[in-house]
Amino acid sequence: MTSADTLKGFKRDGRVVIVGASLAGLRAAEALRDEGFTGSLTMIGDELGEPYDRPPLSKQVLTGWVPAGGTTLPRRRDINAEWLLGVPADGLDLATNHVHLADGREVPFDRVLISTGVRARPWFVETEAALDGVFVVRTREHADGLQRALASGPSRVLVIGAGFTGSEIASICRERDIPVTVAELAPAPLVGALGAVIGDVAADMQRAHGVDLRCGVKVTQLEGDAQGRFHRAHFDDGSTIDADVAVVALGGIRNTEWLRDSGLAAGPWGIACDTGCRALDLNGLITDDIFVAGDVARCPNPIYEYRLISLEHWVNAVEQAQVAAHNMVSAQADRWPHLSIPTFWSIQFGVNIKSVGVPTFADEVVVTQGSVPDRRFVAAYGYQGRVTAAVSFNNAKWLDHYRQLIETAAPFPPPCPTPDEPVDAKPVPVDFPGPRLLAQGATVVVTGHDPGERRVTAAWQHR
């Protein structure tokens, strides 16, 4: 039998198992059926209910507009799947091609897609995390609980961590006229993702909206009252604050523990894969039948020196699902690389914040358009003289232009002959430790628009 026959047979009556029934898992399932896969499809998920959308949980749901249960994802087509929900996978056997479930069941597969995502990082002291009034926000249940707590009119909310989720929650507290304190270890909000220049803008924005923002401090203890209700937090500078609600927004933990004995290159950093979403084993060898997509995937990006990058971005989950599904049912020569430039958005304090590229992959940043005080601007990020990312505040229409600059390795600072160019646009050092191992000489550019046509070509770096 030729490999073409084998592939045909697999497409007709093979067995695909998708572990992780959220955005990436659902979109991959739809894409598999779109690609003509008629075999058996099993969806495994640890939560009950159909796949749902998470971004609204920290926005529409917390404002009280939309109930937490109302974010079920729309379906683009019927996927005719068997659903195994409410039970997590707890092992993957690559020798026999089985997924083990926590309830003892074993599910055989020919090809598997892993999209188990991340979970919220809990407060580090278990008894304190269990106090009534202490929340994380990742699932519908979390959002529902926090929404109720906000609706009951707390005297003050403490948000621990001023990343995107923490900042969005602080924004909603102010919208609901609830006093809120934000505690952040870094010198400003969003610094870890966007650097000091944008961090300062974010800090001003929070304070202008009445947030009690405390940077450079660490919360050391969450104190409960006699009834086990959170009521006070202690900081490492000796100060305390009284609040009824604490939201722990300290990022996520990748759900890879279940793969501990699988032999895959999986760990706290995610699951390493190639640009075709095929998983790497511990030796760094590509597996043939194991695919990865979404927050849990750690994929090389040629634009960023082939570094393995995990992204907790909505679009990344959608795009990797599409690529993984296509490659699962395609011969080697027809496989697609996932070569898109990361994009991300956040809505807070009435401002639309968007980014394209990888802002942490930069040594300089410059405001190229608009005005920072007006909170309507674009900042471009550069690394060794080429554009690597851009962030917009209420100026999203321009980001496609910057995406093209990134894809073509355009020189930094980019010439931006627009009417709203600031007069004093000078690049300043970006304030995070930039990429340390500096590749010399070559970089690459992306060509093609159709997912099937997109390819990378080597180019010489501007110096």
Binding site: G49, D53, L73, I347
Partner: protein, 75 residues
């Protein structure tokens, strides 16, 4: 009915907020907020909004009967 907007595509043209204001609202100058689970009575307006989006960023459920996980509730 079920709706999702790809907010990475959305550029704040606000056509949807104009055509289906009960489902789509502008938050500040250009950020979009939407109800992912509007009443079925909104269907006509929402479909019109999805068609009018210059970025085609609005996805409306395309199925009436879909396979659902057994023993779990549908919204």
């Amino acid at each position: 009915m079920r709706v999702v907007v790809d907010l990475s595509r959305c550029q704040g043209y606000a056509q949807c907020a104009f055509l289906a204001p009960d489902t789509f609202r502008m938050h500040g100058e250009e950020a979009l907020m939407y109800n992912p689970n509007p009443d079925d009575g909104q269907r006509e307006q929402v479909l019109r909004a999805a068609a009018a989006c210059p970025l085609q960023a609005i996805l409306v459920e395309q199925l009436e009967g879909r396979d659902a996980p057994v023993g779990t509730s549908q919204s």
